[in-house]
Symmetry: C2
Subunit: 313 residues, 2 copies
């Protein structure tokens, strides 16, 4: 069975991962998740992007917030506030079950990839979900107010401080998750897809894990990224704000240049006004705004069709 590898951060990436999960045969898709957003909070080990992907693929994600679970209750958070606890990072009652299980098993010495596989299985997900590494990598955001741990910047400060750069602490000692290299060697891949996640804080941490960039570059499958930018705006999150603060044009051209030789093609929205890119990736057009589940499946299908054409050229 041919496989598909998808690199994903949180919300935007998870949407495309859902489309791929639904149209591919069970087990064909492997989603490699950013863990640079992971952090320890209230003594719990929290992996926001893994959880968003798990919840999305399990069909239990909260469609309003883009994070957390549907049909969530907030009794814990209210009780914690009454005790004077830290409430800037919202943890729902059902969501807590994942954090407490993960924390308990990490403390017992289990690998993040093993724990993620356990969660995947119990949530009834057909695709494989992998952390980018079992070793902790922690994104630090260099801002106008100094270096901030990612969630301090992202959630507590709501991306307000201007961004100067990023550091992925721990990345140089990290290794790809066990089994990924073997799976890539054993599986004919239809495509490697870089989901429409933030290139700087969702995809770059993955590529910072030694060996992962090389694994992708060396693979014969076409590498197709989906631009998170449409007509000078990011679909969601701080991508556009970051690009401006970094002195970059908020365009899909910037996204293409950022990924450089890593990708063979960049999928941009039909309405996007990307400049032609000399010596750059092939530019492909699709409807990249995903609202409904059909939108997600359609985009996934379009990308896989493009991939087949790229491969047979």
């Amino acid at each position: 069975m041919a496989g598909v590898l998808a690199l994903s951060g949180g919300v935007g990436g998870a949407k495309l991962a859902l489309g791929l999960d639904r149209i591919l045969p069970a087990g064909a898709l492997t989603v490699l998740c950013n863990t640079g957003d992971d952090f320890e909070h209230l003594g719990l080990s929290i992996s926001p992007d893994i959880d968003t992907v798990l919840y999305t693929l399990a069909g239990i994600a909260n469609p309003q917030t883009g994070w957390g679970r549907a049909n969530e209750t907030w009794t814990f958070m209210a009780a914690l506030a009454d005790l004077g606890g830290d409430t800037w990072f919202r943890l729902g009652d059902a969501d807590l079950a994942v954090h407490i299980e993960r924390t308990r098993r990490l403390a017992a010495g289990d690998a993040l990839s093993v724990i993620t596989e356990h969660l995947r299985s119990h949530l009834g997900i057909r695709s494989t979900v992998l952390p980018m590494s079992d070793q902790p990598v922690r994104t630090q955001v260099e801002t106008s107010e100094g270096m901030l741990p990612f969630q301090q910047y992202f959630v507590k400060r709501q991306c307000e401080p201007a961004v100067r750069g990023f550091r992925f602490d721990g990345a140089s000692e990290a290794t790809p998750p066990p089994g990924l290299s073997q799976w890539l060697a054993d599986t004919p891949l239809e495509a490697i897809i870089v989901c429409p996640s933030n290139p700087f804080i969702s995809i770059d941490p993955i590529l910072a894990v030694p060996g992962l960039r090389r694994m992708i570059l060396d693979h014969s499958a076409p590498v197709i990224a989906v631009s998170p930018v449409i007509q000078g705006r990011a679909v969601k999150g701080p991508t556009a704000k970051m690009m401006s603060e970094l002195g970059l044009a908020v365009t899909s051209t910037t996204v293409a240049a950022h990924y450089g030789e890593l990708i063979d093609a960049l999928v941009v929205d039909h309405s996007d006004d990307i400049e032609p890119i000399r010596n750059g990736p092939t530019v492909l057009r699709a409807a990249t705004l995903m609202h409904s589940q059909k939108d997600k499946c359609d985009l996934a299908q379009t990308i896989l069709t493009y991939a087949r054409n790229l491969r047979t050229r």
Copy 2:
């Protein structure tokens, strides 16, 4: 201001503590809680008796179960079950806030007494609540099926295995909570009250902390215990079953003999058929079944009145 020291386990003890809290001036009552029931579960540090006392004094205890909080939700527990997690010990969503705060602060090096004081203050409780020690003491139950950690025996096995004895692991290295000795030295006490808790698993662990028994024996205040047994039955919990399994008569006389020289008086229910005790404590009569808040305040008042008479004899 004269003070009252109450030794308490969970439910039964907390009821009398509530009565005392409501009739005494703010700050006069110190409740010294059993921590032999404490355990680590799902990576969380749980102190069931401290929490029952805190929730009861704060007026947020669950009146149906005798443990946990009123108006609780159970979303976490249901989600944990879906993940294949351990669900034999029920943790409500609001209850989790206390366990997560306690666990986080213990890991950060804070003492259990400091954390308990923080919780007390945020829950708006007027009385002082102290753990019997800041050092961990863990009750082990010697049973027909071997040694069981307390919660395994009590909750998981529902007190089913026959009891042969008890061991309070860690007790010999434990010390009384900071400040207790000073408070006892500085405060004229109206009484030291041993609440109607299980003598073997709620009060004995407290007395096993080196120095605490001596502190009580040496104090000039009258020591008054309330019998948890009425007419051959325990008001709640496994007290009667344990007494039988230990080869003891299920009577208040057994309770009096168990506490021995520690107590000056034993309060038994009006309906109890206690035998006269030669050289034993004074036997006092009261309505010891506490259903309503008035019952609790009335019993507390009766005990304090008895204490005044005992003191002036």
